[in-house]
C-alpha cells in the first residue's frame, strides 16, 4: 500500500517542524515515552535510597554529583527533588502528552475521517511549547539549588521558600499554554471536521473520551496557570498571596507582608489536578474500548451508556477537588459536599468499567498483545478505583492520607491502569503509524513481566500504608519504630521496580526493531471497523485518498448475515 504523494516538502518541514497531525502525534508520543522512561529512572534511583537508606548508590552514585549525593549517599534535599520531579514528569510530561498529545493527535482525526486537525500550525506550536516546558523542567536539575523539591503539588509556604521552584513554575506555564492550544484544537476538530455521515452517536468511544478530556484541559488548567502566576509573584516580587503572617524560617522571621492563604493554593491546584486525574484516565478508557471491541469481535455492550457516563464524569470531575484536602480541617459542611460528589463520581466510573467488562461476555476473544494489556487494565484500574473509595471519605482518608496507601492507590490507577492502556494503544495503532506489526512474542514478554512486577511494586504499598508508614520520608521511615516490620517491603518493591525496568527492554527493542523488521501490513491488519483503518498504513499527508463517508456505528462486528465478522463504518450498505 503506497501513501499518496503530496509534493516534496523539505526534510525539516516533513519530520521536524511538521504541521501534519500524525507527525505531531508521533513526536508527542515518542517525547512522552522518553519522559516516562526518565521519570521511571528517577524512581529507580529513589528506590535504592528507600530499600538501603544511607548506603552509597552502586555504579551511578558517583555520577549524581557531590551536591546531590556526596560519596554516592543521597541527600534528603536530592531525594525530595527526585520525588517532586518524578510526579511532575510522569503526569505532565509523560502520560498526558502520550495519551492526549500522542494518541489524540494521531488517532482522533483519522477516526473522524478528517484530513488533519482544524489548526495544523497551532498543533505544531503546541508540541514545541510542550517540549520547551519539558526541557526547562529537566534543566532545573542542573542549576544551583537543584530542581523543585516540594512535591508535584508544590504546596506553599514550602514551595515559595524552597529553591528550584521558579523553573518548575515557568515550565508549568508553558505546559499549560501547550495544553490550551491542543485542547481547543481537539474540540474544534471533533465538532467541525467529522466526515459526512459520522453523527455524534457514531463516533468511536475513543473520540468521545478525547473530546471530554479536551474540555477538562481547557477549563481546569487555567486556574493552575493563575495559581502558578501568583506563586511566581510570591517568589520573585515578594508578594504574600500564599504566605501567612508570622512565618519563621530557621529562626528568622520572613520579611514579607503576610496575610496570604496557603490553602488558596491547594484549592487552585486541586481544581486542576483532580480533573487531571480524569485527563489521565479517560483517553486510556477510550483506547481500551477500541481494543476490546476489536478483539472480542462483537459490538461494545452499552455504547450509549459509555458516552453518557463519560460526559457526566467530565462534568462531575470539576466538583470533587477538595477531597484531596480533608487533612486541612475544612469543616463538616464542606467535607460533606465533597464526600457526596466523590461518591457520585464513582458511579459513571463503575458504569464505564462495567460496560467494558460486560463487552467481553460471549465474545470470541483474540488474545493479541494489545488485548492482553487492555484486559489487564480492567482489574488493575478496578483495584485502583476501589482502594480510592476509603480515600474519598474523610473519616478513613485522614489516617490514610499521608501514608503509602495513597501512593499504592493512585499508582494502580495510573501505572498498571493508564500506562497499560497506553501500551495497548501503542501495540494496536503501531501498524497504522508505521505500516508494520510489532512482534507478538516480545510483546508478551513485555506484558507478563510488567504485569507481575507492577503488582509486586504497588501491592505492598497498601500493607505499608495500612501499617501506618508515612510517605515522602527520604529514609523510607527508618527513624520510626512502628515502621520496623514494614521496612522489608521496601527491598521487595525496589527489586520489583528494577526488574520492571528490565522488562521494558523488550518493548524498546520491539518498538525500534519493528520499524525495520516488523511484518508489513495492509490498511486493516486487525480487521477493525473504525475509519482510521480505511487510510493507507502509514497514511500520507492528508490521510485519505478521498474523504470517507460513515454509514453506520463504530463497532459493527459479527453482524448476522454479513460476509465477514466485521462491517466497517466506511462500507456502504449492500443494496
Amino acid at each position: 500500500m503506497t501513501a499518496p504523494v503530496h509534493g516534496s516538502a523539505s526534510f525539516w518541514r516533513t519530520y521536524v517542524f511538521s504541521q501534519d497531525h500524525k507527525v505531531v502525534g508521533i513526536q508527542y508520543a515518542v517525547t512522552g515515552l522518553l519522559f516516562l522512561l526518565l521519570g521511571f529512572t528517577l524512581m529507580m534511583i529513589m528506590r535504592w535510597q528507600l530499600a538501603y537508606p544511607l548506603r552509597p548508590i552502586p555504579i551511578i552514585g558517583g555520577w549524581l554529583g557531590s551536591a546531590n549525593a556526596p560519596g554516592g549517599i543521597m541527600l534528603p534535599e536530592f531525594y525530595n527533588q527526585l520525588g517532586a520531579m518524578h510526579g511532575t514528569i510522569m503526569v505532565f510530561l509523560g502520560v498526558v502528552p502520550l495519551a492526549v498529545g500522542g494518541f489524540g493527535n494521531f488517532v482522533m482525526p483519522l477516526q473522524i475521517g478528517a484530513s488533519d486537525m482544524a489548526f495544523p500550525k497551532m498543533n505544531m506550536a503546541s508540541y514545541w511549547v510542550y517540549l520547551c516546558g519539558g526541557l526547562i523542567m529537566v534543566a532545573s536539575f542542573f542549576v544551583t539549588g537543584g530542581a523543585a523539591q516540594s512535591g508535584w503539588t508544590s504546596y506553599p509556604p514550602l514551595a515559595v521558600i524552597a529553591p528550584g521552584q521558579t523553573l518548575w513554575l515557568i515550565g508549568m506555564v508553558l505546559l499549560i499554554t501547550s495544553s490550551l492550544l491542543g485542547s481547543i484544537n481537539t474540540i474544534v476538530t471533533v465538532v467541525q471536521l467529522r466526515a459526512p455521515g459520522l453523527t455524534w452517536m457514531r463516533l468511536p468511544f475513543f473520540v468521545w473520551a478525547q473530546f471530554v478530556t479536551a474540555f477538562l484541559l481547557l477549563l481546569a488548567f487555567p486556574p493552575l496557570e493563575a495559581a502558578g502566576a501568583l506563586q511566581l509573584m510570591d517568589r520573585l516580587a515578594g508578594t504574600s498571596f500564599f504566605m501567612p503572617s508570622g512565618l519563621v524560617v530557621t529562626g528568622q522571621p520572613l520579611p514579607i507582608s503576610g496575610g496570604g492563604n496557603p490553602l488558596l493554593w491547594q484549592h487552585l491546584f486541586w481544581f486542576l489536578a483532580h480533573p487531571e486525574v480524569y485527563v489521565l484516565i479517560l483517553p486510556a478508557m477510550g483506547i481500551v474500548a477500541e481494543v476490546i471491541a476489536n478483539n472480542t469481535r462483537k459490538p461494545l455492550w452499552g455504547y450509549r451508556a459509555l458516552v453518557y457516563a463519560v460526559g457526566f464524569l467530565g462534568f462531575m470531575s470539576m466538583t470533587v477537588w477538595a477531597h484531596h484536602m480533608y487533612m486541612t480541617g475544612m469543616g463538616t459542611t464542606m467535607s460533606t459536599f465533597f464526600q457526596i460528589t466523590t461518591m457520585v463520581i464513582s458511579i459513571p466510573s463503575v458504569v464505564i468499567l462495567t460496560v467494558l467488562m460486560l463487552s467481553l461476555w460471549g465474545g470470541s476473544i483474540r488474545f493479541t498483545t494489545p488485548m492482553l494489556f487492555a484486559l489487564a487494565f480492567l482489574p488493575m484500574f478496578g483495584l485502583g478505583g476501589l482502594t480510592g473509595l476509603p480515600l474519598g471519605l474523610a473519616p478513613t482518608d485522614i489516617p490514610l492520607h499521608d501514608t503509602y496507601y495513597v501512593i499504592g492507590h493512585f499508582h494502580y490507577v495510573v501505572a498498571p491502569g493508564t500506562i497499560f492502556a497506553l501500551f495497548a494503544g501503542i501495540y494496536y495503532w503501531f501498524p497504522k503509524a508505521t505500516g508494520r506489526m510489532m512482534h507478538e512474542g516480545l510483546g508478551r514478554i513485555h506484558f507478563w513481566g510488567s504485569l507481575i512486577c507492577m503488582n509486586i511494586v504497588f501491592m505492598p504499598m497498601f500493607i505499608q500504608g495500612l501499617g501506618g508508614m508515612n510517605r515522602r520520608l527520604y529514609d523510607g521511615g527508618l527513624q520510626y519504630a512502628h515502621n520496623a516490620p514494614l521496612l522489608k517491603w521496601h527491598v521487595v518493591i525496589a527489586m520489583a521496580a528494577w526488574t520492571l525496568g528490565l522488562f521494558q527492554l523488550p518493548f524498546i527493542a520491539n518498538f525500534f526493531g519493528s520499524l525495520k523488521w516488523g511484518t508489513p501490513v495492509d490498511r486493516n491488519p486487525w480487521h477493525a471497523t473504525t475509519l482510521e483503518w480505511l487510510a493507507p498504513s502509514p497514511p500520507g499527508h492528508g490521510n485519505f485518498q478521498t474523504i470517507p463517508t460513515a454509514y453506520r456505528g463504530p463497532y459493527e462486528y459479527s453482524v448476522p448475515g454479513a460476509a465477514t465478522d466485521f462491517t466497517p463504518q466506511f462500507e456502504p450498505d449492500a443494496q
Partner: protein, 194 residues
C-alpha cells in the same frame, strides 16, 4: 491540503472553525480570570485587617471610558469590513489601536505613581492583587493590540485574496477585545470602587 470550514460555516453546526476556537479560548479565559478574582475575594474575605492604599480612581475612570469607546470602535471596524467599506474599516481599527495604546499609557502612569511612592506589590496583599490582576489584564490588552496591528499590517493582504476570511478574523478579534473590556469593568469595580 485544505482544512474545511475555515471560511464558511459548517452547515449542521453553524460555526466556522475560528469562531468556535475563539469562544473556547474565551471560556478558558473566564476560568483564568475567575480563578484570579476568586483568589482576590478569598484573600480579602479571609483577612483580619485589609490595609488598602488609595488608587487613582480618576485615571481609571478615564481608562474605563477609553476601553468602552474602543469596543464601540472595533464594532464599527467590523461592520465596515463586513459592508466592504475598506477605508472606514482601516480608520475605525486604527482608532481602536490608538485608544488601546492610550489606555496602556495611563496604566503605566498609574504604575509609576505607585512605585514612586514606594508602593510595591510586596507591601500588602491589596497591592499584590492590584499589580497582578491589572498586569494580567494589561498583557491581554497588549496581545489584542498585537493582533490588531497584524490585521492592519501584513494581515490586511488577506482582504484582497479572501474578504470573507478576513472579516471572520476581525470578528474574532472583536470578540476577544470585548471580553478584555468586560474584564476591565470587573477589575475597575472590584479594585477601584469596592
Amino acid at each position: 491540503m485544505e482544512i474545511p470550514y475555515t471560511v464558511e460555516a459548517r452547515p449542521d453546526t453553524g460555526w466556522t472553525n475560528g469562531k468556535l476556537a475563539m469562544w473556547l479560548f474565551l471560556a478558558s479565559e473566564v476560568m483564568l480570570f475567575g480563578a484570579l478574582f476568586s483568589s482576590y475575594v478569598i484573600l480579602r474575605a479571609g483577612a483580619t485587617d485589609w490595609p488598602r492604599e488609595s488608587l487613582n480612581v480618576g485615571a481609571a475612570s478615564v481608562n474605563t471610558l477609553l476601553l468602552l469607546a474602543s469596543s464601540l470602535m472595533i464594532s464599527k471596524a467590523r461592520a465596515a469590513a463586513t459592508g466592504g467599506d475598506w477605508p472606514s474599516h482601516r480608520r475605525w481599527l486604527w482608532t481602536t489601536v490608538v485608544l488601546g495604546f492610550v489606555f496602556l499609557g495611563i496604566k503605566s502612569f498609574e504604575y509609576s505613581e505607585h512605585l514612586a511612592h514606594g508602593e510595591y506589590p510586596s507591601n500588602s496583599t491589596f497591592l499584590a492583587v492590584y499589580f497582578t490582576l491589572t498586569g494580567f489584564h494589561a498583557l491581554h490588552i497588549v496581545g489584542g493590540l498585537l493582533v490588531m496591528l497584524y490585521l492592519l499590517g501584513p494581515g490586511a493582504r488577506l482582504y484582497t485574496r479572501n474578504p470573507r476570511h478576513f472579516v471572520n478574523r476581525v470578528e474574532c478579534t472583536a470578540l476577544y477585545w470585548h471580553f478584555v473590556d468586560v474584564i476591565w469593568l470587573c477589575l475597575f469595580t472590584l479594585l477601584y470602587l469596592v
